[in-house]
Structure formats: C-alpha cells, structure tokens
C-alpha cells in the first residue's frame, strides 16, 4: 500500500499518472477510506471519477484499488469467483499497465483482492485487503427511496424497516429468500450492504483478519470493514440466518464446503454444480481431488499432468470405459473448464464418483 508518487522516471511515455488516477484524487479517496475504516459500515461520500470503463462495471472498486495499490502489491481480481472472466482479466491488465502491479490468481499470494460478488474460499489473512465492487451501497434503498430519509435512519439506527423486508420474505415464501447482498449489521451499529456476494460468504466477513473496502463508483460511496469487526446477518429469532447448502459436491473437485454454481449442461435438463471460485477448484484438482464429472485430467488440459499432481491409483483408469470415444474428439477446446467438462463427461454415469 506504499504509494509510489510518480511513474518510474525511466519510463518513456508516462501517459497517465501512476495507477491511472491523479494524486489529488487518490488522496481524496484515501481520506474517504480512512473515515470509512474509522466508522465501520458508514457510507462515506466521495468524488467518484470517470474511469476508462462504464459505471456499473466496477469503477468503485477500481478507484479504491488505484488509491491503495503500490509497486510492492500483488493483485488478484475475481469476477463471480472466477479469475478468467473478461472483467477480471481486463481489470488485472489495467493495473499491470498503469500501476506496474504484479498480478496473481492465487488467493494466498495476493495483497489486494478486488472482487465482484464473491469472497475467495481460501481463508484471508492479516495484511490482505479485499476491495469490493458495489453497485448499490444503500441497503435500505429499495425500501426507502429518499436519500435524506435513509441517512437519518442510519444516523439514528432506525432499522425496523429492514426487518420488514425479511418479514415479507418469510410471510410469502416461508423463509428469507434474499440470497445475495444479504443485509448485515456491522459492529452492532450500522446496517450495511455487503455488495452482491452470496449470503454463503457473509460469515466469512465476520471477524475477518483482512481489511475489507467497498467502493461504489456510480453511487459515489465508500465504506469499509476494519479487520476483526463483527458482522451479523439479520434474521429473526425463530428464523435464524442460514447459508446455502448443496446436495451434491463440486462436480470437478468434489469440494463439499465451497459455493457452487449450477450449470445447465444440455437441453434435457441435466446440470452440474461446480465451484464458483475457479482458483480454489483448480488448486483442489491439482492436489488430486476428483469430482464425478471431471474428465481425463491430461486430455482436458485442466490440471498439470506432472506426476506430483496425480494421486496414486488415479481413477482415470477406471473411468475410461464410461467415455464415448466419439465425444472426446481431438477438437475439444481445452481452455474452458466448464466446456470441457460438458464435452467430456456429460455422459459419464453418476456412479463413477471419486
């Protein structure tokens, strides 16, 4: 987080200031960040700048990252848990270009993790900074359209209305159906929108050793969670908060404790569940975990076929008979995990479980 004030002098064409934003803007954002850290959960207004991507694509997160990044930092960017989606790749490249930043896909190696809608499965550690992209920072907005009124409600902790929303859910559906952006109470004081992360991730925020920063570019708000801050998801006494659970483990890495995306894999209604955190899934597969629908590791190109990555008695042998040779053609695209899984393994019987 040590700010380097200028672009390295030997650079030929400093078209932009270091990390794109000018120093005054970064100072302004840092002041907002300091205030936000001092009052956990409080939304601090800031002068959001035009960024070279559309509002709503993560401009808030990018500005926060730009204000805190330094040459010593290692940046990881995820979008819905994945490191390889367009948005994540572009933002990573943006900081490689403008901030000379090292980037990584490994959660443990990163010092700054900019995220859209997920918290990595690997536990965060002290010294790491999470930067969330936030579309709507005001948790009460859908209930109370007046900004002046919501500010008063926050100021005086008049949070009955938020409970009314949960009541409505239970009355209509028998349970709280909010599954993402699930409102949380910060430090027993402010209700905060955790950004549209699944409620599965809410418990990870509680007492996290990492600093968590939230930037909403379009709405021009910054808020923060200092390390070791209590985060309580709202609920009723007789309808306690619960996170999502799945009946099946990850189809690729057999994880049972991670957040799974449901993927429709044909037009017959077949579907698979895979980890939304792509790096977590790859790490597990490299460690030798095998899900039911993971194809031949070597041909799929998903895992390094080096001996160290293959567990003894690899199941690949046993699974080969199930596979239709015509379907695992050489024209298969090895790039995408989901696609290859579909091509390879849609026909694999469920019994071939690791």
């Amino acid at each position: 987080m040590n700010a380097q004030q200028t672009w390295p002098a030997d650079d030929a064409s400093p078209a932009y200031n270091y990390a794109y934003l000018d120093e005054q803007t970064k100072r302004m954002i840092r002041r907002a960040l300091l205030k936000a850290v001092a009052v956990p959960g409080y939304q601090v207004p800031f002068g959001s700048r035009e960024m070279p991507l559309a509002r709503g694509w993560g401009t808030g997160g990018i500005q926060v990252t730009a204000a805190i990044i330094g040459p010593d930092d290692t940046l990881k960017v995820i979008d819905q848990g994945a490191d390889d989606t367009t948005n994540a790749v572009s933002i990573r490249r943006f900081f490689e270009k403008t901030a000379d930043a090292r980037t990584t896909e490994a959660t443990a190696e990163a010092t700054i993790i900019q995220t859209r809608h997920r918290i990595p499965e690997a536990p965060l550690r002290a010294g790491q900074i999470m930067v969330y992209q936030v579309p709507q920072p005001e948790p009460l907005r859908k209930l109370e359209p007046r900004e002046a009124e919501t500010r008063k409600m926050h100021a005086w902790a008049e949070y009955g209305l938020m409970q009314v929303k949960l009541y409505e859910n239970i009355a209509r559906f028998g349970e709280v159906t909010t599954t993402y952006d699930y409102p949380v109470m910060i430090n027993g004081r402010y209700i905060m929108a955790p950004s549209p992360i699944p409620k599965f991730d809410n418990p990870k925020m509680h007492m996290s050793p990492a600093l968590q920063l939230f930037g909403a570019g379009r709405e021009k708000r910054i808020y923060a969670l200092p390390p070791h801050t209590s985060v309580r998801s709202l609920d009723f006494e007789d309808h306690p908060f619960r996170i999502q659970s799945w009946s099946a483990p990850c189809a690729l890495c057999a994880a049972t404790d991670s957040y799974l995306d449901e993927v429709v894999i044909d037009d017959q209604g077949a579907r698979m569940f895979v980890c939304s955190d792509s790096h977590h899934c790859e790490t597990r597969r490299a460690q030798g975990h095998r899900g039911t629908m993971l194809g031949d590791a070597a041909t799929s190109g998903l895992v390094d076929p080096s001996p160290s990555a293959v567990i003894p008695g690899d199941r690949r042998e046993t699974r080969d008979p199930f596979r239709n040779p015509t379907e695992q053609g050489s024209g298969m695209d090895p790039g995408s995990a989901l696609r290859s899984a579909r091509d390879d393994d849609a026909k694999v019987e469920a019994g071939a479980k690791s």
């Binding site: 008049e158 209305l161 409970q163 009314v164 009541y167 239970i170 009355a171 009723f236 006494e237």
Partner: protein, 268 residues
C-alpha cells in the same frame, strides 16, 4: 374566541397529556394557524372542525411533530417528565412518533406501505421497537387485523388489493398496534362511502374507548365530530373561534361561523 363551560376535570389523572400553548404557523404572509392553545387529557377525544383551508391540517401537523410551528410550544406528558416536543432532538421526536403517538392519514396511501403485506404493515412498528420474533409479530398482527375486522386469511395480501375502507382500517391497526397514548387522525373517514364510514366510526369509537386513547381528530364532517369527540374546536381562517364540549358547541353555537356551519348540515 367563545368558550363554553369549563373543561371536564378528570379525577384520575389531573395532568393533561398534551398541553398546547400559543402555537402559530405562518406561510410567509399568510396565516396557517394562529395562537392555538388547549389541553388534552388522557382518554379524551378532541375534534377540530372548520371549512377547507381553515388551518386544521396545519395545526395537526404542528401538533404531531411533522411541521415545526413558528411560535408556541407543545408539551407532551408521555413519560415522567413533560417533554417539549420541539426542543428535543429530532431523533427523540421520531422515536415518540413511532411509539407513543400514531398518525392516521386521510389517504391510506400516505400511512401504509403499499408494497408490503398487511401483516408487514401492522408489524412494522413492532419491529421498529426491536421485536425480532417472527411468530410473535405475526400473532400480534393477526390479532389486530381481527380487531379492525379484516379477515386473518388476508394477512399476506398487499394493501393495494384491499378496498378503500379496508385500507383505512388497516392503517388504524398499523398505528394502534404499538399501543400509542395519543393518536392524530386527519379526516379518517374522508373519501369513504357512508355505510363504510359508519362502520369505521363505530370501530374507532370502540377502540378509543377500549384502549383509553387520547385522540385529536380533524374533520369537516360535523356528524363525525358529534359521534366521536368529547370536545370540539372550531377553526376559521387559522384562528380558533369557538371551543367547548361537543354537544354544547353543536347544539348551542355562539360564534356566527359555527352557527353557519351547524345550519349548513343537511338533514335527510
């Protein structure tokens, strides 16, 4: 101002619940209401009548803590200490409005959350004060819906699926669920047809008597005033021109304007 006989002294609680002294509200040059003073005792229902534009609603807004009056003070004895509602912080005033007071708006749309179910509407005040047990909240909501004669089966319907009269009853349930000591009603029967009005008035009368509420009811309907109120204030051009016991004021109006008002009532 014409004043009839002295106000009834309530034996059990001599201290008035609400003391209003010299409340004035101006809109620039124009007078909203001027120099209004009265006391309201627990369990008493005060009516404010007058023609359109006479300052009834302005006065009510001043009393209910919505609009700050330019002059005068409003003392509320909800707790052990009398509270000047405009000298306490806004936070305290809002808390009072949510717990010790209730406001029934003329248009139910102003008082209800139209996209929240009936149960949620009734339960909001309970959740405001910190109730966090879904089952208990729902039970209270059902109880109050039955008290205002809304079928329990409709607890999960939204107010926009209700008729006008039901919306108004729902609004009353929503206000009364927190057991306020003082209720402000702005034309509670306005815009309803006569038979629905009659039912609603009946209901209000029962509730007010049962709960021992103090209420201030603004109306331009003298029949409503006659039916519901103990005391009456007649307003004209922002001034109180006459006040006294309802029956006295209506049967023996002193002020010329009150005479005009009472004689203008159609008798069928």
């Amino acid at each position: 101002m014409t004043t009839h006989a002295t106000f009834p002294e309530t034996a059990y609680d001599p201290a008035p619940l609400l003391s209003v002294t010299g409340v004035s509200r101006f809109y620039g040059e124009r007078i909203g209401c001027k120099d209004v003073s009265f006391d309201l005792w627990p369990g008493e229902v005060l009516g404010i009548v007058g023609e359109s534009g006479s300052g009834k609603s302005t006065l009510l807004r001043c009393l209910a803590g919505i609009d700050q009056p330019d002059e005068g003070e409003v003392l509320f004895r909800g707790g052990p200490e009398p509270l000047d509602i405009y000298s306490v912080p806004e936070q305290e005033r809002r808390r009072l409005m949510r717990t010790a007071w209730g406001i029934v708006h003329q248009n139910p749309r102003d008082g209800l959350r139209m996209d929240v179910s009936a149960g949620g509407n009734v339960g909001e005040r309970l959740m405001d004060r910190g109730d966090r047990h879904y089952g208990a909240i729902r039970e209270r909501a059902l109880d109050w819906l039955s008290r205002v004669e809304i079928a329990g089966a409709r607890i999960d319907d939204r107010p926009r699926q209700f008729s006008g009269g039901m919306q108004q009853r729902l609004q009353i349930a929503r206000v009364l669920v927190s057991e306020p000591r003082l209720v402000f009603m702005d034309e509670p029967t306005g815009g309803l047809d006569v038979s629905v009005q009659a039912k609603l008035l009946d209901l209000l009368r029962v509730l007010v008597r049962d709960l021992g509420l103090a209420a201030i009811i603004v109306t331009h309907d003298l029949a409503v005033a006659r039916l519901l109120t103990d005391r009456l204030m007649v307003m004209k051009d922002g001034h109180v021109v006459e006040q006294g016991l309802t029956d006295q004021v209506l049967d023996d109006p002193h002020h010329a304007y009150t005479q005009l008002l009472t004689s203008a009532v159609l008798t069928v």
